[in-house]
Symmetry: C2
Subunit: 149 residues, 2 copies
């Protein structure tokens, strides 16, 4: 492992963040919970964007705000030792920490744009591009860092 | 079941809220996720309040804000049919919907106060009363509506 990877691994998995979880299992539960709730609200925006659910500007904004808040949470919970147990995280989360960090940053950037878009959306079509761009960042990160179910 | 209970049950478990979940299992995953993440951040406030973690005004406020946001989420997910499967919810959630709604409202009120308290806390002691009052509402609702582990 190169020096820059060690530094990134330290940022990702050590220090105060790791200390905030009682155990690796606690960290897994936390990140899975945050991702599940976030995915749910993201899905609601997708349902509106695709016309499967009626467009509701207020709901779209509330969902996007929740996604934005939750999008910041999971990453500190990929602590050392939480690659075992009830997790779908691939070993690459820990062996390629820079790549994982970049993927999560890309997702978070997309969510910021989605939230700004949802705040001024007046019809379902307004959500489509930002929703699609965010979904691409989910898929890309899942392809590289999440085991297939 | 009396008329007012039916009305409360309808509010609690039917209509748009239920339609937002793909399945009862999806609703269970959602509410457990929200409660787990919320409990985690609530625990961080408790650790500060009890002196187990150093007081950090900014962190306390961020944790309380997250608890406040998340405190609104789980309740719509106690949908009809989600009393089965991987859930610790007691049947009383559905057989005593008014009591359950009142318990969740009490908790949410306590969280509003906790959030206001955390926003102006300057030392760990400032968090104690509001944290304790909120924890009491958690315990009371868990005693009545959550199966023992």
């Amino acid at each position: 492992m190169k020096t820059w990877s060690l530094a990134a691994a330290a940022l990702l998995a050590c220090g105060p963040a790791a200390a905030q979880f009682k155990s690796p299992d606690d960290a897994v539960e936390y990140r899975q919970g945050a991702l599940a709730v976030m995915g749910h609200h993201f899905g609601r925006i997708g349902a509106m964007a695709s016309g499967k659910a009626p467009f509701d500007a207020k709901a779209a904004q509330a969902d996007a705000d929740l996604v934005l808040t939750l999008s910041r949470l999971p990453w500190s919970a990929f602590v050392e030792g939480s690659d075992k147990g009830d997790t779908s995280a691939k070993p690459e989360v820990w062996s390629q920490p820079d790549k994982f960090k970049a993927a999560s940053a890309k997702f978070q950037d997309a969510v910021v744009k989605l939230s700004a878009t949802a705040a001024k959306a007046t019809r379902a079509d307004d959500l489509k591009a930002a929703f699609g761009a965010t979904a691409d960042t989910c898929k890309s990160c899942h392809d590289d860092f999440r085991k297939k179910h």
